[in-house]
């Protein structure tokens, strides 16, 4: 059977876990082979989908525009996204949006090593759109669900990526569960969720 390149799924992950995903890898030597970051809960991610609050935008470029956006989640974690001339649509969104605003971001994980030797994880956007609170709340629940699924698999299973995460990282997995709980609890404090 012919194998056609298939679109990679967009993982749901809270910012704290994403920013811990500093290990990247490819699965073939081909130049065009997809690049993955390894999530500490034992899953590979070539693309992520994030909905959160865009709190700040800034043109950090020197010669040409290079926009940085900070997207904050319900448990305080922050995603960083960068868009320049090769992501013109996303760059113009970051230029035009006025924070704070709920945004949906689809993009590819990228890592960058700082002068101090730290590895920063960010998102290279494929698209950024302004959305409403309902979309953001739905994302929080979905991301908690996906995170818990990964944690359960991590504790009970032994996939290739779980093995990889166990050997590459030393993060206490339970913090990701706590962050999922924190994110879900934050929905309770909102007016429509308390009416019963």
């Amino acid at each position: 059977m012919a194998t056609t390149p298939t679109r990679k799924v967009a993982r749901r992950v809270f910012a704290r876990e994403f920013n811990d995903a500093t290990y990247t890898f490819k699965e073939s030597d081909d130049d065009r082979a997809p690049l993955y970051v390894l999530l500490p809960t034992g899953e590979r991610a070539n693309r992520i989908f994030v909905v959160g609050t865009l709190t700040e935008t800034e043109d950090v470029g020197q010669d040409s525009e290079y926009w940085q956006g900070r997207i904050v989640g319900p448990n305080g974690g922050t995603f960083f996204t960068y868009a320049g001339q090769y992501q013109p649509d996303a760059a113009s969104m970051l230029r035009e949006l006025e924070p704070p605003e709920y945004v949906a971001l689809v993009g590819k994980p990228r890592t960058y090593e700082t002068d101090d030797g730290d590895i920063n994880v960010s998102v290279r956007p494929e698209s950024i759109t302004a959305v409403d609170e309902a979309v953001r709340n739905r994302w929080v629940v979905e991301t908690a669900e996906r995170t818990l699924e990964r944690i359960e698999a991590f504790e009970n299973g032994s996939s290739e990526y779980i093995q990889m995460a166990k050997s590459e990282y030393d993060h206490p997995i339970d913090t990701y569960r706590e962050q999922a709980i924190e994110a879900l609890e934050s929905l309770d404090s909102q007016p429509e969720a308390t009416a019963d």
Partner: protein
């Protein structure tokens, strides 16, 4: 295929015709061997061909013999290519044949689902009519990118049945975020050639080249719905695109006219729907889900997730 297997087939055939014809098991085995070993015909087809020859010689109908046919299958059972099977199915849909080699192409259905069929021009078979139920004998299965189809060929027999057949629902329901709108979405032009549904790209139809008349405007979204575990490509036709985006074909044409550019429509659609959650139901076609219904899902039960989170 071993000699013994062929001999077993030959013995079966011998049983069926020994009353009518003066034949021997050796003679039948030889015929089967020629077809299978020299002409590389699949055994089931060889068996069929040999049976047909003897049916002719004996002046009998296929119905006169028992058990000489293929395995009778229902649509959902088709899970291998190159199997010779019999099907009772209704013609659910007829599509435009893209090639002269194809007489008819479309969708057959039974209680268990639907499957694509192709009828070759050179097979010289009667025309199938939409909505009618047929007994199709000796069709061969095929597979392309994980999807199965059946081919009606020269040896296929088609019998129209005077009965109704409830066609099973192979619709899928998917829910997730719309994470991408692919190129070829928005305000598009279709080839004006009679019966052609190709989308013009830079004013050209892949089949008819640059048409003399202007193409016909249409709306479409080829999108990607992603739930974090699975990815589905979805096609929203004009009606679905209009209800999804709130942009009618008329409005889209106005927008394009004002901007002197059709791409403003797709851009506006991006802003309105990308990154939102949808529930889409519809049949699948190849790798696409064809949206028949689109809804915005309600809020999921976060309390249940919270209980789970605390328990693991």
């Amino acid at each position: 295929m071993t000699e013994t297997d062929l001999r077993t087939h030959a013995e079966d055939i011998y049983e069926q015709f020994s009353d009518q014809l003066d034949i021997s098991v050796e003679e039948i085995t030889e015929r089967l061997e020629t077809l299978v070993n020299e002409y590389k015909v699949p055994t089931s087809e060889a068996r069929r061909s040999v049976i047909n020859t003897y049916l002719d010689e004996a002046g009998m109908d296929r119905d006169d013999i028992m058990g000489g046919g293929n395995e009778r299958k229902v649509v959902s059972d088709v899970d291998r290519a190159e199997e010779w099977i019999d099907l009772k199915a209704k013609v659910v849909d007829l599509w435009e044949a893209r090639s002269d080699a194809v007489a008819q192409v479309g969708l057959l259905g039974d209680e268990t689902g639907t499957i694509k069929f192709t009828k070759w021009s050179k097979s010289d078979l009667p025309t199938l009519e939409e909505g009618k139920v047929y007994e199709l004998r000796n069709v061969v299965t095929d597979e392309y990118q994980g999807r199965y189809s059946v081919k009606l060929n020269r040896t296929t027999t088609i019998e129209e049945l005077d009965e109704e057949l409830e066609v099973g629902d192979d619709e899928v329901a998917i829910e997730g975020a719309l994470v991408d709108i692919q190129s070829g979405s928005g305000l598009i032009k279709r080839c004006p050639e009679e019966g052609c549904t190709h989308v013009l790209q830079n004013g050209r139809c892949p089949e008819h080249g640059e048409p003399e008349e202007d193409g016909e405007f249409d709306l479409r979204i080829k999108g990607v719905i992603d739930d974090g575990n699975q990815v589905h490509e979805v096609i929203f036709n004009r009606e679905m695109t209009e209800s999804l985006t709130g942009i009618t074909l008329e409005k889209a044409q106005e927008m394009a006219m004002d901007a002197l550019d059709t791409s403003v429509v797709a851009e506006e659609m991006h802003d309105r729907v990308l990154g939102r959650y949808y529930t889409v139901t519809g049949p699948t076609l190849g790798r696409y889900v064809l949206a028949n219904e689109v809804e915005e899902p309600g809020m999921p039960d976060h309390e249940a997730v919270l209980i789970k989170a605390r328990s693991i």
